[in-house]
């Protein structure tokens, strides 16, 4: 079965995030003056062909530990494991 997965990757707490700082510094010029502690992370989304969701989750955990995140600087979280139409598939739909 094709299991849809979303993995979130963030910079470790306490590690300076210049990207977040830049976003934060730009917000007041748009009128949002009440926003602080901006951090920018990333989301990685894909499908895994696995026997079941538990198997997919086990594999994705290994993928995230070994490759999708770097434990020296980042933490990861599996945000979603389950069937749904992936973005890539909807991208491929003829317009």
């Amino acid at each position: 079965m094709n299991v849809h997965v979303v993995v979130g990757v963030r910079l470790k707490e306490g590690l300076l995030d210049p990207q977040g700082k830049a976003v934060e510094a730009a917000l007041p010029s748009l009128g949002w003056t009440n926003v602080s502690h901006v951090r920018v992370g990333k989301e990685i989304e894909f499908d895994v062909d696995a026997p079941d969701e538990a198997a997919a989750r086990a594999q994705v955990t290994q993928m995230a530990e070994r490759f999708l995140s770097n434990p020296v600087i980042e933490t990861f979280e599996i945000l979603q494991v389950g069937e749904m139409i992936s973005l890539s598939r909807s991208d491929e739909r003829p317009g």
């Binding site: 210049p18 830049a22 490759f67 020296v72």
Partner: protein, 244 residues
């Protein structure tokens, strides 16, 4: 007796930029440059290896994260494990960290700018390791100042507090960014690296990662030659491995 010309392999990944300068610098320093393609499993009989600067695989996911799984990197890891001298420059340093051959990681600069300029680094420690191994060859007198260029957006060296302590205690900080007179301070830290670290050794002193570019600083006709000492270490370490 003429000095042996060691073979220095320079690995080219998709997106490497400084491989040609590295090959040229090796030749200028008296080595025999050998190109290694990222899909090669053989290091072409190299006595030492350079992972050059650039933006391998577009820096996608994380700098060095994808290059580290290239077929050539399996050979580089085995070569390093066996005591082979390896120099990672800029993106090469990032790849070595991702591969776990060096500690820490290199993340986005503290400021918002890509920094591209000549800076000064201070030699902190030569390679550690057993006295009889190539590891004892020093890079230059400790405290020597080298003028070298940097050009990176992600050169801020970070590691856990415990790791930093280990590095300092073991004398594995190779270089620190400093003022033209050798003063290490935040004002002369171009990217926000922890403890102004510009380069580190592995435990056995045969793998060195540096953010500055020694290969751009070897030809006296083109400017300062602070890179010579760094490449000289690699060539000497390579020669030491060649049976006489």
């Amino acid at each position: 007796m003429s000095e042996h010309r060691p073979r220095i392999g320079v690995v080219t990944f998709p997106g490497s930029l400084d491989d040609r300068d590295a090959l040229r610098a090796v030749a200028l320093m008296g080595g025999e440059p050998v190109s290694v393609w990222h899909t090669d499993r053989s290091l072409a009989g190299a006595d030492a290896v350079i992972l050059p600067g650039g933006f391998s695989y577009g820096d996608y996911l994380r700098t060095g994260a994808i290059a580290r799984f290239a077929p050539a990197m399996e050979s580089v890891a085995a070569f390093a494990e066996a005591g082979g001298p390896v120099l990672g420059i800029c993106n090469g340093f990032q790849i070595l960290c991702e591969a776990g051959l060096l500690p820490g990681a290199l993340v986005r600069n503290r400021g918002l700018a890509f920094v591209c300029r000549w800076i000064t680094v201070r030699v902190e420690h030569g390679p550690a390791g057993p006295a009889e191994s190539s590891g004892r060859l020093t890079i230059g007198p400790v405290g020597e100042l080298l003028s070298v260029p940097i050009k990176h957006g992600e050169g801020r060296f970070v590691a856990s507090a415990a790791e930093l302590e280990r590095l300092e205690a073991a004398g594995r900080v190779a270089f620190r960014y400093c003022s033209p007179t050798g003063e290490v301070s935040d004002d002369f830290n171009p990217n926000g690296s922890e403890a102004s670290i510009a380069g580190v050794w592995n435990e056995t002193g045969n793998v060195l990662g540096v953010m500055p570019h020694p290969e751009h600083a070897v030809d006296p006709d083109l400017g300062p030659t602070g890179g010579q000492a760094i490449l000289q270490w690699l060539l000497s370490a390579a020669r030491a491995r060649v049976p006489a």
